[in-house]
Symmetry: C2
Subunit: 176 residues, 2 copies
DNA sequence: TTTCATTGTAACTAATTTGATTACATGTAA
DNA sequence: TTACATGTAATCAAATTAGTTACAATGAAA
């Protein structure tokens, strides 16, 4: 075990320098990058819309995966989250999922919360352990915390104004 | 080179199975996690507030780093972004940074944009290449794109309502 | 002009999260 | 029983963050 570990630690730097350097160029030429909220959210909306539009048929994870263009396991994980949030009905062994309530009563905010893409009051991260000996350091967190929460709530409120039914209607409208 | 690569690829699985499994437990027991916007943003606000409160003194990257409790290079990177956005003045070789304009004319939205934590219209990621043969797949992106943009703009508008001067005043108020 | 502190920046790292994938256990119906 | 679907654990490659070392470039002061 120890021998493996030693050999490993000797080889990694050699291997890294020999083979992986090209990757660094791609990364480091960029400078600072930015983040996006997980596509679980958009996939969750896609799934619920598809359940509605495929109402007559059976929406298995395989079927949905083909529409989303991803792996069925990804779909089953997200459907599991929607189920935990009470948004869909789905049972082991039985093909197909269904909305648990009328889509006019499911907002994008419900889906957003179900798929757990952003924690409450944690859209913005605040740097940890600023210096308590500094006037700014010992107050900055309490000062910006409420401001960040308010901004996050404004975003979430916007999501709460739209239902999945609205999304389905817009999709159908684009085809007419 | 090829030999190194082969040995490496043989050893990695062995090493992984032997030594790194404990890490997986920590990670995998969690299920899906969530993201936060980079603390560059809160550090940027901290820096500008400190420049104001330390107006009489010299705010070098070392000085600021001690207040934020991080590495001076991290501070210099963020100050570089603030400089690019025209929010601070700072020159190579000369210690200290200063706000480039009155803090009552710098909003949190200005800082947010300066430190590039979220791209325009890209707070939410949309799953790529949905199936164009599906009614939902070929329309979902166009349908949810504007909805996501609106939610993002609501958040950003909230940030635009607060200036760094407001933040400084709140910090001072907490000490009185 | 030399010295020295400071900014600017490249290179690298460990830790996290994401989305995808394989494998398989569990559950249901024909 | 067989066949198929859901549930879920275990991995993986890629991307991002925050931190670190190292050093080049700049400017002020001795």
């Amino acid at each position: 075990m120890l021998f493996q570990k030693l050999v490993f630690e000797l080889l990694v730097p050699i291997y890294t320098k020999s083979f992986i350097l090209y990757t660094n160029e791609d990364i480091l030429c960029k400078g600072a990058n930015s983040l996006s909220i997980s596509s679980r959210f958009s996939v969750g909306i896609h799934i619920l819309s598809l359940l509605e539009i495929n109402k007559g048929g059976v929406s298995s994870s395989d079927f949905i995966a083909k529409s989303v263009n991803t792996n069925p396991v990804v779909i089953r994980k997200i459907i599991g989250m929607l189920k935990n949030a009470g948004l869909v009905n789905v049972r082991p062994g039985i093909a197909g999922a269904e909305p648990a309530r009328d889509l006019s009563e499911i907002t994008l905010l419900d889906v957003y919360k179900a798929v757990n893409v952003v924690q409450e009051k944690a859209l913005f991260s605040v740097h940890e352990s600023p210096n308590p000996a500094c006037l700014v350091g010992r107050n900055i967190q309490d000062t910006i915390g409420p401001l960040f929460s308010e901004a996050q709530l404004a975003m979430e409120k916007s999501l709460g104004n739209v239902t999945v039914e609205d999304v389905v209607k817009d999709i159908l409208k684009r085809e007419s």
